[in-house]
Symmetry: C2
Subunit: 456 residues, 2 copies
């Protein structure tokens, strides 16, 4: 592990952590992420406090809570006090007791109060990622007064590009003003004269992080105010937090679609035991469900013994159903996530997937039929006297299985959403398993219909 | 289709498109997206030009090029001239000739020049999504001069929050200044005194859009300057463009992982033929590859005939391999995309996946063994006199197949990246197919080893 640090020292002649501390905070984070929390704490302890705060403030720093835990208490308190409120909350969410309790007691009263308030919001809520360091001014101020105020508080605010104008008495949110409009305004004009005409876009503290991300991205905002039911601004969620959020939820969705519980940490930093836990659960559930295929095949054992040739196509038919299902699921998960399709659209989707599945199944059925014809005629394999009926069985089964796969795969995200789950919990392996069991039953039912009296 | 418009009219008493035009541009876009391009053009034509420009400027508007094509030429030119340079480029990328040529000729010389320059960058590059409407000032100006300049040009710039300071003579990029630092600075101080100490983060016009997104998100920037090899600022990429980019590439990756070619348009707006094309290709390729399972089974036909009981577990064993492969692939695609894992780390990953796969396989093997024991003892099914050997075969095969699945699934993204492909082109169905064929061979090899002399 120390190699990385050495490497950095070599790259920057003069060496040592003193050199590392001159890099950009985001680059320092990259180096610290390659170290153990203990070693990273040691390096951070060598930094000037302002630099250490800048580094700790970046959400990209893994194990920030653990690093804080390894710092001398005095130093830890100094750094924590300097953090932005949203990052501080983040770190305290991850801190273990007793370190957590002893540190919280040593924060100054203001910081502790805002921390306790932010910690009270549920972990996936907009309230939990908001910061309280925003700029607000009373609605009876002028442009000049507002600018003077911003100059004074600039260094302690996460963003000053959105300014929130409050009712002079009730302190409720009246308008939002952007800094670019503000500096272009007449200094003596009232602040409200440079505000946007429309009521500002706001979000409730209990709304999801994803909703905050969606609104910021839809309306191209730099920040969105988090507003209580009484109309008071509790904090703001900024665009950079939202980017982190979008990337993180993209990763979680991708992992879940692959059939893994979302990892909390990067792949190489996830412990072996943790990795097994995240994967074994789903793998076992899928395995237990897939056991139904063994039961289905036991049920059709007589048919299998009579026509062993039917077994040759089982993997081919089953996997085609799973593949078409996985295609449909991935399309619908994203369409639902982006709001392109709503719950009520399920029947529109079903009406599209039915002909799509039929045609895709027909295409595969045709290829399958060609294969059996070719192999039979070229003498690669002898499917017996009823080879044409077998080809027909395989093709018809493919149409049925692929259609079922498309339908099941497209409806699953709707069903999950209807039941109150995240549609993104539908995974490719889950759909495949669902379709496998049914696929076998469809195959044998088709075989019984076409082949009874000849092969069966 | 007109229903939606009617619905909007009802919701907003007073009715008509006049009412719709009072909504926020992003909300207008949502309504227009439910209409045909022709109808949307009709509605837009009824808007005041400034409003129509605001709407057309949003990348969320589907079929923008088609809508422009349906507008009266005079109107189309007026709107296009008002667009930001990056959006104009975007729309011209999608416009068909001859509309494209006739419109480009009617733009004013400045707009046409910048458009032609932007159109010359490859479609996936940072240059193709940059805008040329940024603020730059010579390095010998004062803070006050810069502020005065910003006030003058504010309305014609996409962002004024990052100001680029150029060398007074050579016009190359010297520094970047944020508006928040600028307004806090002493008006008479030279502009360079409020600049960041570090050289600004820049990007080449030929770098990928993803790289622009990565840098903006890593360094929490509001915009990144696109700089030529000679050090001149060609344009900037802003944070809102990057959010759209991240969301779009997340969708493409999710669709590809599901085994679909990325759709260009939302699910419900993709035509039936287009949908079939995007899905049939991969489905057919996978089907052809999966045919190897039929060949493998033909090869082991003698064994199958002797021990039909072995066929019962084929779907179970194959799907477990596919599932563990899909887990590993989804983990590694994201880890590579986020830069958590690099190409050179492949052996670290292999060294982790080997024991992970062995343990996961052992867990499933144990469950499988229990199932056969239980079914045999409870009399649900009779696996014959050699049932213990069969249980052993199934368990051993599961260990082998799951280990192979984890290894193949985790190495596939590395191999793709090494070959110059996007690791995200590895799909769950692709991994499953890869593992299916090998899984069958592993199963029969294990069976031959354990059962020869008894069942085989």
């Amino acid at each position: 592990m120390d190699d990385t640090l050495l490497h950095i020292d070599e790259a920057l002649p003069g060496g040592g952590t003193a050199r590392l501390s001159d890099e950009r905070p985001a680059d320092i984070v990259e180096v610290l992420n390659t170290l153990s929390a203990e070693k990273a704490a040691e390096v951070m302890d060598g930094f000037a406090p302002e630099r250490a705060i800048e580094v700790l403030d970046l959400p990209g720093l893994d194990d920030a809570a653990e690093i804080v835990g390894h710092l001398p208490t005095e130093k830890a308190v100094t750094l924590l006090q300097g953090l932005s409120a949203d990052r501080l909350t983040d770190i305290f969410h991850d801190l273990e007791t007793p370190a957590r309790d002893s540190l919280i007691d040593r924060l100054d009263a203001d910081t502790r109060d805002s921390l306790n308030r932010l910690l009270s919001y549920p972990e996936q809520s907009a309230g939990s990622i908001m910061t309280v360091e925003f700029v607000s001014v009373p609605g009876n101020w002028t442009v000049q007064q507002t600018l003077d105020h911003i100059r004074k508080v600039e260094s302690t605010r996460e963003t000053v590009y959105s300014i929130y104008v409050l009712h002079p008495v009730r302190k409720t949110l009246q308008q939002a003003v952007t800094l670019r409009r503000l500096i272009s305004g007449d200094p003596d004009a009232p602040i409200l004269s440079v505000a946007a005409r429309r009521t500002p876009i706001t979000i409730s503290p209990l709304a999801s992080r994803e909703e905050a991300a969606r609104l910021i991205s839809k309306y191209d905002l730099l920040a969105i105010p988090v507003v209580s039911r009484t109309g008071h601004v509790l904090g703001i969620v900024t665009v950079d937090d939202v980017i982190d959020e979008i990337v993180k939820s993209g990763t979680e969705d991708a992992q879940r679609f692959g059939g893994v519980e979302a990892l909390q940490e990067p792949y190489l930093r996830t412990g072996f035991g943790e990795m097994i836990r995240k994967r074994a659960g789903w793998l076992s559930v899928l395995f237990l469900s897939e056991m139904l295929t063994a039961s289905a095949m036991q049920y059709f054992e007589t048919e299998l013994e009579k026509a062993i040739v039917l077994t040759l196509f089982i993997p081919l038919i089953m996997s085609s159903g799973g593949n078409s299902g996985s295609q449909a699921t991935s399309l619908l998960i994203r369409a639902l996530a982006l709001g392109e399709v709503r719950l009520g659209d399920w029947w529109r989707v079903a009406l599209r997937e039915l002909p799509t599945g039929l045609l895709l199944g027909a295409i595969l059925g045709l290829i399958g039929m060609c294969r059996i014809f070719l192999w039979q005629h070229l003498g690669f394999y002898n499917y017996g006297p009823h080879w044409m009926l077998i080809a027909l069985t395989v093709s018809a089964a493919l149409v049925g299985v692929v259609t079922f796969g498309s339908m099941a795969g497209s409806m699953l995200p709707f069903i999950l959403q209807r039941l109150g789950f995240d549609p993104a919990s539908a995974s490719a392996p889950f759909v495949a398993t669902l379709v496998d069991v049914t696929g076998l039953v469809i195959y044998f039912a088709v075989a019984a219909t076409i082949l009874t009296g000849t092969l069966l």
